[in-house]
């Protein structure tokens, strides 16, 4: 079947619809997923198509949305729970970290938690400090959980379908400003992408840019600018923060000997810190420059557009960081 260019929103919708058609045990629960059609319109039309049993509006109660989804998953269903935005996942942190991620281990493998928690992340929409977090890295700290951070429609569809079919709990993080991005996606109802595989999104010999989510967009723009100056960046899209697949990063780094990590996370204890540590550990002899990190500034995100923009990563900041590591 031919690939069609569709948006990330459409890709997510298609993934959910196909998986619900395939498996009766898959159902959706969350705030405004039904009558409203999903805060980001991902589940529009689902209530009519699948009915109230499988498209379940919940009260505004994140602890029980996550926790009940864990219980339902343990007891044999395959819930796709939606937390409206990741900002509200802080209220569900206990259910996600202490229960979704741990019950299998703690009870010695007696329980399985085939659960997907979908949520949106990201700043840049002038929503102020409480509504602009991109804290997916926090969730990647915990063994027992997977964290998906797709940056294209193709990845969004293949990764979401794989997440729903997998028997482990997945936090599936969609970027709220990227839902309209379009790319070709297979129609094949069995199109799946492997869990925990990063992807080389652009080839280049001069510098390795490691990124995910919104960072992919900023990095791609930066790479185009850099190319005009004769610097070819290789862009590795992690796609998953857990399992974290750094093999392609290592391969690339052996060739480029330089690395910049780009992410919307805050600057301390982030993916860049992890990647830098792993590179110096594994490939110290290949390092020609310190690993640079481009992240959000270490402030809560403000409302005013100009200073909000200032606080976030940008192609310009990436270009600058790359030029520092390539010494040009």
């Amino acid at each position: 079947m031919a690939d069609r260019p569709i948006t990330i929103r459409e890709a997510l919708s298609a993934a959910l619809r196909e998986e619900m058609q395939r498996d009766e045990r898959v159902f959706i629960m969350g705030e405004e997923v039904g009558v409203w059609g999903g805060t980001y319109a991902v589940t529009r039309g689902f209530l009519d198509e699948f009915g109230e049993k499988r498209v379940r509006d919940t009260p505004i109660a994140e602890m029980v949305i996550a926790g009940a989804a864990v219980g339902a998953a343990m007891a044999g269903l395959r819930p796709v729970a939606e937390i409206m935005t990741i900002n509200f996942a802080f209220l569900a942190l206990d259910a996600i970290v202490n229960h979704a991620a741990k019950v299998r281990y703690m009870f010695n493998g007696q329980f399985t938690v085939p659960l997907v928690i979908r949520t949106t992340t990201g700043g840049g929409k002038q929503l102020g400090a409480t509504h602009s977090h991109a804290p997916e890295v926090i969730f990647a700290h915990f063994p027992g959980l997977y964290v998906a951070v797709p940056g294209t429609a193709y990845d969004a569809k293949g990764m979401l379908k794989a997440s729903i079919r997998d028997d482990n709990p997945v936090l599936f993080v969609e970027h709220s400003t990227m839902l309209q991005r379009r790319s070709p996606v297979p129609d094949d109802p069995d199109f799946l992408l492997p869990i925990g595989k990063s992807d080389v999104k652009r080839r280049g010999d001069d510098v390795t840019i490691v990124t995910f989510g919104k960072g992919l967009e900023w990095s791609t723009a930066a790479a185009e600018t850099l190319a005009q100056d004769g610097i070819e960046a290789e862009i590795i899209d992690l796609r998953w923060l857990r399992p974290l697949d750094l093999e392609p990063v290592f391969e690339s780094f052996k060739k480029t000997n330089r690395c910049v990590v780009v992410e919307e996370s805050l600057p301390m204890f982030n993916v860049g810190a992890e990647v830098a540590a792993r590179l110096q550990d594994e490939l110290f002899d290949y390092m020609d420059a310190p690993v640079k990190r481009v992240a959000a500034m270490d402030v809560p995100l403000p409302y005013a557009a100009e200073i909000e923009r200032m606080a976030l990563p940008s192609p310009e900041k990436i270009v600058k960081a790359v030029k520092e590591v390539v010494g040009g």
Binding site: K53, V64, G67, V70, A75, N108, G144
Partner: protein, 326 residues
């Protein structure tokens, strides 16, 4: 609800005595350093656990908090394997990775003890949702402490169970304290079962169930049986069992929040003594039989300790297993 016959009553008596002896032995093993971590004993609350679990069918579900040894034993988990878990051994019900607070047995539909106060309440709702979703007609018995009724999870879980009409019996084991804080010092309403009113009205949503004498195993059995059948037919119900923990909250509790006299009073009216007296009055010449059960319980605990001590320690392979489904 079947009226319990003599055999059943003796079985309950056995379970209650077994729990008591088991817990006493756990306390000793803790003092000897063989049990680590936190240890929360069920002494004083045996009638609630035994009576409530007797009210369930085999296909029903049980989930509780960290004060879970008595619940595990009442649900029929092997005392040997429960003791092995206490000692952190591979033959433990959770492979030595859960510990005293985290016992579970999937086969027996015992979904575990949980160390985070209130953390298992939404899980109970989810398990009940699965039962309803697949029309299985199974009820979830979710036990919790009085203290858990003040945590956010309580509100969110009871409310969701009401809105979705989930088959859950929410059973509060009101032992009158959450650690050192009495119910009156922690909760705006002290008749905890009244909290049901926030989640239901006029036959819709949560049903306010009875406040029961949790020291009387027969009453617990009868009332919880009715609640279970209510939940099976109609949806969630909140029940409050008035009980008392005769030991500290966990080992090493200096118990500054209550008086010796208060504790003594409950020792005198303890659930096992009361039930024994009831049996002696009901059945002629039953005492030798009861003594025999007492002796058997002690032997079972001895055997459990022996088994646990001889079970191997978990290994590096166990350490790294079961983080994910492979």
């Amino acid at each position: 609800m079947a009226t319990p016959n003599k055999e059943t009553l003796l079985d309950w008596y056995h379970q209650m005595v077994l729990i008591r002896r088991f817990e006493e032995r756990c306390a000793e093993l803790y003092q000897q350093g063989l049990i680590g971590g936190f240890l929360h004993l069920y002494i004083g609350q045996e009638a609630t656990g035994v009576g409530a679990i007797a009210a369930l069918k085999e296909h029903d579900h049980v989930i509780t908090a960290y004060r879970d040894h008595g619940i595990a034993l009442a649900r029929g988990l092997d005392p040997k394997r429960v003791m092995a878990e206490m000692l952190g051994k591979v033959d433990g019900v959770s492979g030595g990775k859960g510990g005293s607070m985290h016992l579970a047995d999937r086969e027996r539909r015992f979904w575990g003890g949980y160390g985070i106060v209130g953390g298992h309440l939404p899980l109970a709702a989810g398990i009940a949702l699965a039962s309803k979703y697949e029309d299985r007609g199974e009820v979830v018995l979710c036990l919790m402490g009085d203290g858990a009724t003040n945590i956010g999870y309580f509100h969110e879980s009871l409310n969701l169970s009401a809105v979705w009409e989930l088959p859950v019996v929410w059973l509060i084991e009101n032992n009158q304290y959450g650690m050192g804080t009495s119910v009156a010092r922690a909760s705006g309403v002290t008749e905890l079962v009244k909290k049901a009113r926030a989640y239901g009205d006029n036959g819709r949503g949560m049903k306010e169930g009875p406040r029961i004498d949790g020291m009387n195993v027969l009453e617990v059995y009868e009332q919880v049986s009715e609640a279970v059948e209510y939940a099976r037919k109609h949806g969630p119900i909140l029940v409050e069992s008035l009980t008392y923990r005769l030991q500290g909250h966990s080992m090493g509790d200096p118990e500054r929040y209550r008086t010796k006299e208060e504790v003594e009073q409950y020792v005198a009216s303890g659930p096992i003594g009361r039930f024994r007296a009831y049996l002696i009055e009901k059945y002629k010449n039953i005492e030798p039989k009861l003594d025999e059960i007492d002796a058997r319980a002690l032997e079972e605990v001895d055997e459990a300790v022996e088994f646990a001590k001889n079970s191997p320690d978990p290994t590096f392979e166990d350490l790294v297993r079961h983080v994910y489904v492979d």
